[in-house]
């Protein structure tokens, strides 16, 4: 070890040097304070002996200067002193010294002290090396996470979350967020949104979020209903998530054709359905365990239906906001949250008002969980004007000349949604890709009319009063659960024509039909309840046969159809 001795007394320096050299150390000497500083800079000693009283800078000053100027790792300073007063000795330590030895020099004491400091220096070096390693690994880890985050963000992208009818707040606790917020437009207009909160946050939560996101966007585009999508998502998460990690979720569709909100809350805090006109707030409670807990055999999704118009807003939150603490470790809580929403019910941006209030409430308390807030108003789509979507078109491919035929009977009517199947098969004809939304709309309106009004005999006028949708939806749910007779037959005949092609839909049901004459008459409540204005605007012809229990619709498309 290299040791600096600064002492103006020749004999003392000689004796100390000899003691240190005899136990194998290399000694650098300085006979005054100024030389001590320059020797320190030049030789970088690992241990320093400083005499207190020296000409030029004294020992205290030298200690202060070399500690302040040095960028080197820690080195011990031992003062040599013949002073014996306690205050003089204390000053050695105050000046930055680590120890002192009294003169005259005692060989045994010097050796013992140097050995003790050698051990401490080694410990410091080990710590420094480990710290460098940790720092290196940490930087590496952060780089990897940044790269992974890019991939993650591509998969769990925000979809149409930036639409004008949406306000949201997402505050990430770490690189990845344990909260997932997704938004997609429904094939027939309207929107589907999902707010999911995985237990924990960071990487484990983010990994679970990836399949959830893929399923959300994949199945929404293909026209699957919320129950079908959530069954798929639960099955996947049940298989991939370890015990103890699960996913609370709120998912809802806003159907802008029917002014309907279809919502399912599984393990998340209450959602808030705000009526801005009447200034009322309705709570939508959790009706199910979170995803990833229940086996696919036991898993069942029962959505709730509400009327949702331009006067409504739906607010979904994760528990981060409710459990946010103030400086007294008291939670924000659901009561304060509801009060704040009621107070701001008519505001355009309730989300911002909530976040402002939360910031004031929490003050300087540290954020412990992800805080996510989603506020959605009625989407501003033109409901009778479903767009032709721009996609690359390949000519005469897939099912461009084909007949698809499916008949669902009894219980199958309640357990299988045929729309995605038809849509997927028809869309193998790539020329139809620009017409995806229109075809979806025609098919699902025709099928749902056959099922709801034909087989189940539901009265569409129920939907007209304010709580009608909840009632209608409940009747439909009960009907589908109990159904064991009846049928719906679907035939889609796709034929090429000179200009492009035509899809002939033939849907028949086991119902007793209806008074076609009066219902098809424009202006009747049944007329709009069955989506007829929309169907007429999309199809070239619609004919009701067999007393209304069978409908025949033709949708024509042309090669030169361009996106609007």
């Amino acid at each position: 070890m290299k040791i600096l001795i600064a002492d103006d007394n020749n004999t003392e320096r000689l004796v100390l040097s000899r003691v240190l050299e005899s136990i194998g150390h290399e000694v650098v000497q300085a006979e005054d304070g100024t030389t001590a500083i320059s020797q320190f800079e030049q030789h970088a000693p690992e241990l320093v002996f400083l005499d207190v009283l020296m000409p030029g800078y004294d020992g205290y000053e030298v200690a202060e200067i070399i500690i302040k100027e040095s960028s080197r790792p820690w080195f011990p300073i031992i003062f040599l002193t013949s002073l014996t007063q306690a205050s003089d000795l204390a000053k050695c330590i105050e000046a930055g010294g680590d120890d002192f030895v009294s003169k005259p020099i005692n060989k045994v004491i010097i050796r013992a002290k140097v050995e003790a400091f050698e051990r401490i220096i080694k410990l410091y070096r080990t710590v420094a090396t480990q710290r460098e390693k940790i720092q290196f690994h940490n930087e590496h880890l952060v780089q990897e996470q940044e790269a992974a985050k890019k991939i993650f963000n591509n998969i769990a992208h925000r979809g149409c979350l930036t639409s004008q009818n949406i306000n949201y707040h997402l505050s990430p606790m770490s690189i990845f967020n344990g909260d997932l917020m997704l938004a997609a437009e429904l094939p027939m207009g309207g929107m589907r949104l999902m707010l999911a909160d995985f237990t924990g946050h960071g990487l484990p939560a983010a990994i679970g979020a990836m399949p959830a996101s893929e399923i959300f966007y994949g199945m929404t585009t293909k026209g699957f209903s919320i129950p079908d999508m959530m069954v798929e998502m639960n099955t996947r998460l049940y298989n991939v998530l370890p015990r103890g990690i699960f996913c609370c979720v709120i998912v809802f569709d806003i159907d802008s054709l029917d002014n309907r909100l279809t919502i399912w809350n599984a393990g998340a805090p209450d959602s808030y359905l705000v009526d801005q006109e009447n200034k009322t707030v309705e709570l939508i409670h959790s009706a199910h365990l979170p995803l990833g807990i229940q086996s696919p055999q036991k898993f069942q999704v029962k959505c709730k239906g509400y009327t949702f118009s331009k006067n409504h807003k739906i607010i979904a939150v994760t528990d981060g906001i409710i459990e946010a603490d103030n400086s007294e470790a008291e939670m924000y809580g659901e009561a304060r949250m509801l009060e704040c929403i009621q107070k701001n019910a008519s505001k355009k941006n309730i989300c911002a008002a909530l976040i402002d209030e939360l910031e004031i409430y929490c003050g300087k308390a540290e954020q412990a969980d992800d805080v996510s807030l989603l506020e959605v108003a009625f989407p501003s789509h033109k409901t009778t004007d479903v767009p032709v979507i721009e996609e690359t078109v390949v000519k005469a491919s897939g099912t461009s000349d084909s007949v698809l035929n499916l008949k669902l009977r009894g219980k199958s009517l309640g357990s299988f949604d045929p729309i995605p199947l038809f849509l997927q098969t028809l869309l193998t004809c790539k020329e139809l890709l620009p017409h995806r939304a229109r075809i979806f709309t025609v098919l699902s309106e025709l099928y749902n009319n056959a099922l709801d009004h034909g087989v189940l005999g539901l009265d569409s006028t129920i939907k007209n009063d304010s709580h009608g949708f909840a009632k209608y939806y409940q009747q439909r749910f009960d009907g589908l659960r109990e159904i064991d007779v009846g049928f719906v037959g679907i035939t889609v005949d796709h034929r090429p024509t000179a200009e492009g092609g035509e899809l002939v839909f033939d849907i028949s049901d086991s119902g007793s039909g209806f008074d076609v004459e009066s219902i098809v008459k424009e202006g009747s409540k049944e007329y709009s309840g069955r989506g007829l204005p929309l169907l007429l605007s999309l199809c070239d012809s619609i004919d009701y046969l067999e007393n209304g229990s069978r409908v025949h619709a033709i949708y024509r498309w042309r090669h030169d159809d361009v996106p609007e």
Binding site: N10, T11, L14, V15, R18, K103, K107
Partner: protein, 112 residues
């Protein structure tokens, strides 16, 4: 006549320095003589601080080589000078020179 040296300290020094004991003592002789000469030029009225530093150094280096009787006298002067209470009576250069010569003679006799 008893010794004016601390022989225990000197034994340890011989142990540490070995063949270099002579070099160490010669270094002490020349250093302390220079300091004594400087000290004899100092005036109590104006140089109390300088005197303090000088006798402090002499005390330290002398005790280091076992010159304890001389060192103890230096320490008394040091304490008085530090407090600013040094008087002519206590600052007896002649006596210091005498004690120093006595010690160096004994050191030379024993170790050189």
């Amino acid at each position: 006549m008893g010794s004016c040296l601390d022989l225990e300290i000197l034994d340890e020094l011989v142990d540490i320095m070995g063949d270099d004991m002579g070099m160490l003592l010669n270094s002490y002789f020349s250093d302390s003589q220079t300091k004594l000469a400087e000290l004899s030029q100092m005036v109590i009225q104006t140089d109390q601080e300088k005197i303090f530093r000088m006798v402090h150094a002499l005390k330290g280096s002398s005790r280091n080589v076992g010159v304890v009787v001389f060192s103890d006298v230096c320490e008394k002067i040091e304490q008085l000078a530090r407090a600013g209470n040094l008087t002519e009576n206590d600052f007896d250069i002649e006596n210091l020179n005498q004690l120093h010569i006595q010690a160096t003679d004994e050191l030379k006799q024993r170790y050189l």
